[in-house]
Amino acid sequence: MTDQVWIENALTTSRPQAVAALLRYFRDLDAAEEAYQEACLRALRNWTINGPPRDPTAWLIMVGRNAALDAVRKRSKQAPMPDEAQVSDLEDVETPMVERLDHSQYRDDVLRLMFICCHPDLPATQQIALALRIVSGLTVKQIARAFLVGEAAMEQRITRAKAKVADAGVAFETPGAVERSERLAAVMQMVYLVFNEGYSAGPKDDARADLADEAIRLGRLLLRMFQTEPEVMGLLALMLLQHSRSEARFDAQGETVLLEDQDRSLWRGMLIQEGLALIDKALRHKKTGVYLVQAAIAAMHARAKRFEDTDWASIDALYATLERLQPSPVVTLNRAVAVSKTRGPQAALDMIEPLAERLSAYFHFHGARGWLLLLLDRRREARESFDRAIGLANTAAEAAHIRMHIDRLIAESEKSKGA
């Protein structure tokens, strides 16, 4: 690995904590970002000559803060702060700095920074864009590409979101326990939204697919800050387990491969190991949560060597728990898939028929309904459901998958006519 790559990695890794700490000093998002940018420029110059500092994050915070203070001093013609070449040689300057920024302060800083992006006045798309820009440090161009919009439009979206957040004001006092857990819940949801953006990307949409990696990075960051929170373990485990299947989810033509048809040797074992280990840890806390339960469901699939080995009874039970924690027709729909395996397609169909009205505009409802009707050999009704589904498909891959069912139905009915 070259020095250049090392430095870039160090800057990316340090960014959330560094910007968050600078935000605490300056209490202004733009000022914090500017100070961080300046620190990065100086790091690129300084680290290539003097070698990397022991703690890049602490270095960036201190240099960023000094640079910004210098700018103020210059305007008021005072003596400048010592320059960073001196600073980085003095390990004893770094050490107390690191100690002062103890773990809990970092934690509240980063949580605050992420929470700012989750302001309830912002629509989800703006929350995600703002988080990717501010916390992850993606360029406007990268974010625009991920969302398939022009750079100028994305710039405007982010500027507008920032203005709204600035108007709303940010609470800088250390949050109490209740507020901290509310902030954490909002942040976890935002991270999962980022993940879903990446997860729902098509097979050739690399820019958007990268968002899944970014969400996992944010999840790891959160878990480092909240090491004993079972829901944070659950969130990271859920993302890791879902992401482990990324290389098996599409075929060479870019069409969706269903879980049952996926080549399980393409699943990434390292991500699965980490996900399973986190679930084991979380279970010790004997506290259920929506992310943990969903992670446990994903783990049931990860543990099955072949599709036939899937423990559908446990999945059914886990979905029942999820229905209790977070009642939603979509959860019931997912549960019905498990029920079709344990109690048959008719039981599953009975379970989802009452959802018809609420899920009438939901692609997966009509897809699943069509599939259950097909299993019950009610072909005409199945065809109607698939037709509804195809009209509601969100991606080309989804449409292609339903198309395959319809084509098969047509082919079979022609065969029976010919016979």
Partner: protein, 138 residues
């Protein structure tokens, strides 16, 4: 003489490597591994999962804490590799050890990658017996 070579690095940065960067580093490392393994000198090599996946048992109080062992006064004195059903079974093993040898702590860190390496002497001589291969042919 046998040595354990313990690997230290900035965890956040290593976890932040892209899939491609990670694969490139692993490929570079495996060239070194192959050479030393072929010479019969590299024994098991292990890549651990991040410290966020670790759980620590503090022996005296039988206290289980999420995360790695974070104290700096104690030194790493040894380690075990176990293959168990789940974390609970791993903790039972650690508790049994703790009864035999109280004081300090055990950190249970899941293993991400386990490379067995070249056979140890015992396994090697067994192999020779079975294969009837001349010594030094492997």
């Amino acid at each position: 003489m046998m040595y354990a070579v313990l690997c230290y690095n900035n965890e956040e940065m290593v976890c932040g490597w892209s899939k491609e960067q990670d694969a490139a580093v692993m490929a570079d490392l495996s060239r070194v591994h192959d050479k030393w393994e072929a010479a019969g000198k590299l024994k098991p090599a292990i890549r651990l999962l991040p410290t966020s996946a670790a759980t620590t048992l503090h022996k005296q109080k039988d206290l289980v804490i999420d995360g790695p062992y974070a104290e700096t006064k104690e030194a790493l004195l040894g380690f075990y590799i176990i293959d168990v059903e789940n974390l609970e079974e791993g903790l039972s093993f650690a508790r049994e050890l703790g009864k035999a040898n109280p004081g300090g702590a055990y950190e249970l860190r899941p293993i991400q990658l386990y490379l067995p390496g070249s056979p140890t002497d015992g396994v090697y001589s067994q192999g020779v017996m079975q294969d009837h291969a001349p010594a030094g042919s492997r």
